[in-house]
C-alpha cells in the first residue's frame, strides 16, 4: 500500500461557529508540500473516517513564498504552507488558522488590519507626480542592500502571530509596519516626511507597545531584521519627542 500522510486540520464554518478538528489521509508523493496536500483534499473531500466532507478553505496564490497568502499555523508555527515540505515536518501534521486575525473560515483569516497599518504609518514616498522628472537620487550599493532586506516584507503576518503584544486587547500595529517606516525613512526622498511617520509611530498602538520579546525577527520567513528596525525607530522617536519638547 502506498504511504499516506495524516493531516489534522482545525475547521470552523464561520466566526460564530464552534471549531473542530478533522483528520485527513493524503497519499504521499515526493516533494509534497502542505499546499499540494490541501489541493488533493479539494479534489477528494473525504475525511480519514471515509465520510464526505466540505473541502477545506485556505488561501494561496504565488506558491513560491513571495505573496504571503498561504500563511497558517503548521505544527504550532506560523509559516507559509507552500514552502512547508512534508518530508521536513513531524507527523501527523496539524494545520490551524492564524490566531491574531479575525477568522473567516477554516484556515482563512482576514489580515486587512496589516494593510490599514501601512496606511497609518504612511509607508509611501510623496512623489510630486507620475510625469517624467528624470531619475531619483543616486543610492550606494550598501544603502540599497540594507533597504532591499526590508522591502521584501510580504505582509504575511508571521511576526504578528509571534508577537505577544499583538492581541485582541491591544492596538499595537506590530513589527511589519514599523520596519516599513524604517524602509521609507531611510530613502533620501522618503526622509523628507520622516517626522510624519515618527508621529504615527508615537500614537496609540505605536512603537511604545513593543515589549521587546524579540520573537518577530525569528518568526520572519524573509529574515527581515525587524528587531533592528524597532530598536532604531525607538531611538528616533525618543529623540524626536525630546526635540519637539525642547527643540523648536
Amino acid at each position: 500500500m502506498s504511504k499516506k500522510i495524516t493531516f489534522i486540520i482545525k475547521r470552523c464554518d464561520n466566526p460564530q461557529a464552534v471549531a473542530y478538528w478533522e483528520e485527513f489521509k493524503v497519499p504521499y508523493f515526493p516533494k509534497m508540500n502542505v499546499v499540494a496536500a490541501l489541493m488533493e483534499i479539494q479534489k477528494n473531500p473525504v475525511n480519514a473516517k471515509g465520510e464526505a466532507t466540505t473541502p477545506v478553505a485556505w488561501e494561496c496564490n504565488c506558491l513560491e513564498e513571495v505573496c504571503g497568502a498561504c500563511t497558517m499555523i503548521i505544527n504550532g508555527t506560523a509559516r507559509q504552507a507552500c514552502s512547508a515540505l512534508v518530508d521536513n515536518l513531524a507527523q501527523p501534521i496539524r494545520l490551524a488558522p492564524l490566531t491574531k486575525f479575525p477568522l473567516v473560515r477554516d484556515l482563512v483569516v482576514d489580515r486587512q488590519v496589516m494593510f490599514s497599518n501601512l496606511r497609518k504609518v504612511k509607508a509611501w514616498i510623496d512623489i510630486d507626480g507620475t510625469y517624467d522628472m528624470g531619475p531619483g537620487p543616486k543610492i550606494s550599493q550598501n544603502v540599497q542592500e540594507a533597504a532591499y532586506e526590508l522591502s521584501k516584507c510580504m505582509t504575511c503576518g508571521c511576526c504578528m502571530e509571534a508577537c505577544p503584544n499583538v492581541n485582541s486587547k491591544s492596538k499595537f500595529i506590530g513589527p511589519a509596519a514599523i520596519a516599513q517606516v524604517d524602509l521609507v525613512n531611510s530613502h533620501p526622498t522618503g526622509a523628507f516626511r520622516k517626522e510624519a511617520r515618527l508621529e504615527a509611530l508615537m500614537g496609540e498602538g505605536g512603537i511604545a507597545d513593543c515589549g521587546n520579546a524579540q520573537n518577530c525577527a525569528k518568526a520572519c520567513p524573509k529574515e527581515i531584521p525587524l528587531t533592528r528596525s524597532i530598536a532604531k525607530l525607538n531611538r528616533e522617536t525618543s529623540a524626536y519627542a525630546l526635540k519637539k519638547l525642547f527643540g523648536k
Partner: protein, 587 residues
C-alpha cells in the same frame, strides 16, 4: 457631475491605472481577488526592460524596439510597441522615485543586466524579486490616494461581468464579495480590466493560482473580442512540482548560467553550439524548443527524464547572492540542493499569454467604455514576449488606460448615474441567479478534477509542439468537459467563505477560452514565435501576418483576422544563430 472609473485588478497594470486616474483628481473604485500586494506581479523575478544604456554599450530605444518586434516575430502592431519602448526609461525613473530598491552600480546609478533575445544589458532589477518591489511601490502610492479619499479598495472581491446599456456601452460591473458571495453592482462611466494572465487553463504553470483568465474569458462571452489567443509562452526553465511549476528566472542565464546535458559522457552546451550568436541568451521560444528536442526527440534529458541542467555553480557565490538570491532561495527551499554547488535541474513550463482581450491603441476593447491593460490584453508582445518586457508593458498600459478612460467618460453625453436603476438591477439579478444555480449543482463531477483534466490536455497538446489532429482532439475533449460541467456537484457548504462555488463559476469561462486558444492554434497553419507546428515549420507572412480575433457565439468561437501594422520595421527572417541585422529608424 463627477466621473467615476472602475479598475478591476490590483497588479502592476491596475495599480498604475488607478494612480493615473486619482492623480488627475478623479475617483476610482479598485477591485481585486486578493489584497493587491498579493497579486501575481509579485512573482516577477528577472527584471524590467528599458534602454537606459548605463553600461556604455550603445543601447538605444530603437534597438529595444527592434529586438521586441523581431523577438515577437513581427506579429505586434508596431506603433503602440514603439511608444511603450520609448516610455520605458521614464517608467524606470518614476519607479525609482517611488523608492523601488533597484540594484545599483558602484557609482550609485541603477544597475542593468541582460535577458534573452537582447544584445544589450537593459534589464533593471531589484535582487531577484523585481515584480514584488514594483508592485509594493505602486500599492503604497495607491494607499496614499486612498488616504486622500480618491481611491476605494475592494480587496477579496471578484469581478463577475459588466453592465451594458442599450447601445452596448459598458456602464459598470457586477461583483461578488468573496467572504459571503453576496452580489453587488457598481455603476461607472468607464471600466479598466487589468486581470492578468491565464496559466491555470494549462493546469499547472509558473503562474499564481488566481491566474485563471476567467475575467477576460467571461468578457469574451459577453462580446469582447479576444486576440491572438493561440500565442502562449512556454518558459525554458522551471522546477517541476505537483502544485506548481516554479520559475527559475531567465536572469540566471543573464548572469552567466549555462544550459547543458550529458552527451557521450561529456557536458554538451547545446544552446551555445546551435546558437553561437546568442548562446544561452536566445529568446524563450527558441530555448524551449531546443530543450524539447534534446529531451523528447534525442532522449538526452537528465536521468532519462524531461530535465536539463541549468548551471551557475561556476559563478562567484557572492555575486549570486547579490543578484540572484531570491531565485536561488526558491530552488533551495523547494528542491533542497544548493545551486551555488550543484547544477539545477529544470524543464519548460507554461508562463505567459501573449494573447488577450483585443484593444485599440487607446487600450479600449471593442466594447465602448471597457478598457484593458496588462497581461489580460494582447497588444505589446506579438508572437513571443521578451523577458523583462511584460512588467514595462503592464505599467505602460496602465499609464495609457487611466487617462484614456477619463477622456472617454468625459465625452459621454449621459453618465451612468443618469441611466435607469433597472439596468443595474437586472444585471445584479442575472448574476444572483447564476450563483443560485451553481449552489444547486449536485452532480458527480468534482470541479477541481475537471480542471485538472482540462490542464492535462492543454499542456500535452497546445503548448510547445502542435499538431492539427491533436488540436482537433483537444477541442473535442474541451467540448466533452463543457458537457460534463453540468454534472458538477458543489457539496452543501454555506455561502460564507465558500471556495468551491466561485471556483466552479470561474471554470465555465475558462473552458470556453481554452477553445479559443486551441482552435486559434488549429487554424493558424504556420510557425511563428511561440506557435510551432512541425507540419508547417515556416513563418508564412503572406497568409498569416495577421492578428487572430475570436468572437463568442453559442456554437463556439468565430474567427476573423486583421492585418498587422508594420509601420516602422519591415518583417524579416528571424534567426538567432547569427547576429541580428541592424535596422535604421525611418526618419
Amino acid at each position: 457631475m463627477t466621473t467615476k472609473v472602475i479598475v478591476v485588478g490590483g497588479g502592476l497594470a491596475g495599480l498604475m491605472s488607478a494612480i493615473k486616474i486619482a492623480e488627475s483628481g478623479h475617483k476610482v473604485d479598485l477591485f481585486s481577488l486578493v489584497p493587491c500586494k498579493r497579486s501575481h506581479s509579485v512573482c516577477a523575478q528577472g527584471g524590467i526592460n528599458a534602454a537606459v544604456n548605463t553600461k556604455g554599450e550603445g543601447d538605444s530605444t530603437w534597438e529595444h524596439f527592434d529586438d521586441t518586434i523581431y523577438g515577437g516575430d513581427f506579429l505586434a502592431n508596431q506603433p503602440p510597441v514603439k511608444n511603450m519602448i520609448e516610455a520605458a526609461p521614464s517608467i524606470i525613473y518614476l519607479m525609482d522615485r517611488m523608492g523601488v530598491t533597484f540594484n545599483r552600480t558602484t557609482e550609485g546609478f541603477i544597475d542593468v543586466r541582460r535577458l534573452g533575445g537582447a544584445k544589450y544589458s537593459r534589464t533593471v532589477f531589484a535582487g531577484a524579486t523585481t515584480g514584488q518591489q514594483l508592485i509594493y511601490a505602486l500599492d503604497e502610492q495607491v494607499r496614499r490616494y486612498e488616504d486622500a479619499g480618491l481611491v476605494r479598495r475592494y480587496e477579496e472581491w471578484e469581478f463577475l461581468s459588466i453592465v451594458q446599456d442599450d447601445e452596448g456601452r459598458c456602464r459598470g460591473i457586477v461583483v461578488q464579495d468573496l467572504k459571503n458571495l453576496e452580489v453587488q453592482v457598481f455603476p461607472a462611466d468607464a471600466v479598466i480590466m487589468a486581470t492578468g494572465g491565464l496559466g491555470m487553463i494549462f493546469g499547472r504553470s509558473t503562474n499564481s493560482t488566481i491566474n485563471t483568465g476567467s475575467a477576460a474569458a467571461g468578457l469574451y462571452q459577453q462580446g469582447a473580442i479576444y486576440a491572438n489567443g493561440e500565442f502562449i509562452q512556454v518558459h525554458p526553465s522551471a522546477i517541476p512540482g505537483r502544485d506548481k511549476l516554479r520559475l527559475m528566472s531567465e536572469s540566471i542565464r543573464g548572469e552567466g548560467g549555462r544550459v547543458w546535458v550529458y552527451k557521450d559522457g561529456k557536458p554538451w552546451y547545446f544552446l551555445e553550439e546551435w546558437y553561437p550568436a546568442y548562446g544561452n541568451m536566445v529568446p524563450r521560444d527558441i530555448a524551449t524548443r531546443a530543450i524539447f528536442k534534446v529531451c523528447v526527440d534525442m532522449k538526452l534529458g537528465v536521468d532519462g527524464e524531461n530535465k536539463v541542467y541549468l548551471d551557475i555553480s561556476h559563478l562567484d557565490p557572492k555575486e549570486i547572492n547579490r543578484k540572484l538570491a531570491g531565485v536561488v532561495d526558491i530552488y533551495e527551499k523547494f528542491v533542497g540542493d544548493d545551486p551555488r554547488k550543484v547544477p539545477m535541474q529544470t524543464f519548460p513550463a507554461v508562463h505567459y499569454s501573449m494573447g488577450g482581450l483585443w484593444v485599440d491603441y487607446d487600450q479600449m476593447t471593442n466594447i465602448p467604455g471597457l478598457f484593458a491593460a496588462g497581461e489580460c490584453e494582447y497588444q505589446y508582445h506579438g508572437a513571443n514576449r521578451l523577458g523583462g518586457n511584460s512588467l514595462v508593458a503592464a505599467i505602460y498600459a496602465g499609464m495609457v488606460a487611466g487617462p484614456k478612460a477619463i477622456a472617454y467618460a468625459e465625452g459621454l453625453s449621459k453618465r451612468s448615474e443618469d441611466l435607469p436603476p433597472s439596468l443595474f438591477e437586472a444585471a445584479k439579478t442575472r448574476e444572483e441567479k447564476q450563483n443560485a444555480a451553481i449552489f444547486k449543482m449536485e452532480g458527480k463531477e468534482n470541479p477541481y478534477k475537471l480542471h485538472q483534466e482540462l490542464g492535462e490536455w492543454m499542456l500535452e497538446n497546445v503548448t510547445v509542439v502542435r499538431y492539427n489532429d491533436r488540436l482537433k482532439a483537444t477541442d473535442e475533449k474541451i467540448q466533452e468537459l463543457i458537457e460534463r460541467y453540468h454534472n458538477i456537484g458543489v457539496g452543501n457548504g454555506a455561502p460564507w467563505g465558500n471556495q468551491i462555488v466561485p471556483f466552479t463559476r470561474r471554470l465555465w469561462p475558462m473552458l470556453h477560452l481554452a477553445r479559443v486558444i486551441t482552435l486559434g492554434a488549429l487554424h493558424r497553419n504556420e510557425s511563428r514565435g511561440a506557435h510551432y507546428k512541425p507540419d508547417f515549420p515556416e513563418r508564412d507572412d503572406e497568409n498569416w501576418l495577421k492578428t487572430t480575433k475570436a468572437g463568442f457565439t453559442p456554437d463556439g468561437p468565430s474567427f476573423s483576422y486583421e492585418p498587422v501594422d508594420t509601420a516602422y520595421i519591415k518583417p524579416r527572417q528571424r534567426r538567432y544563430d547569427v547576429a541580428k541585422e541592424v535596422t535604421m529608424a525611418n526618419v
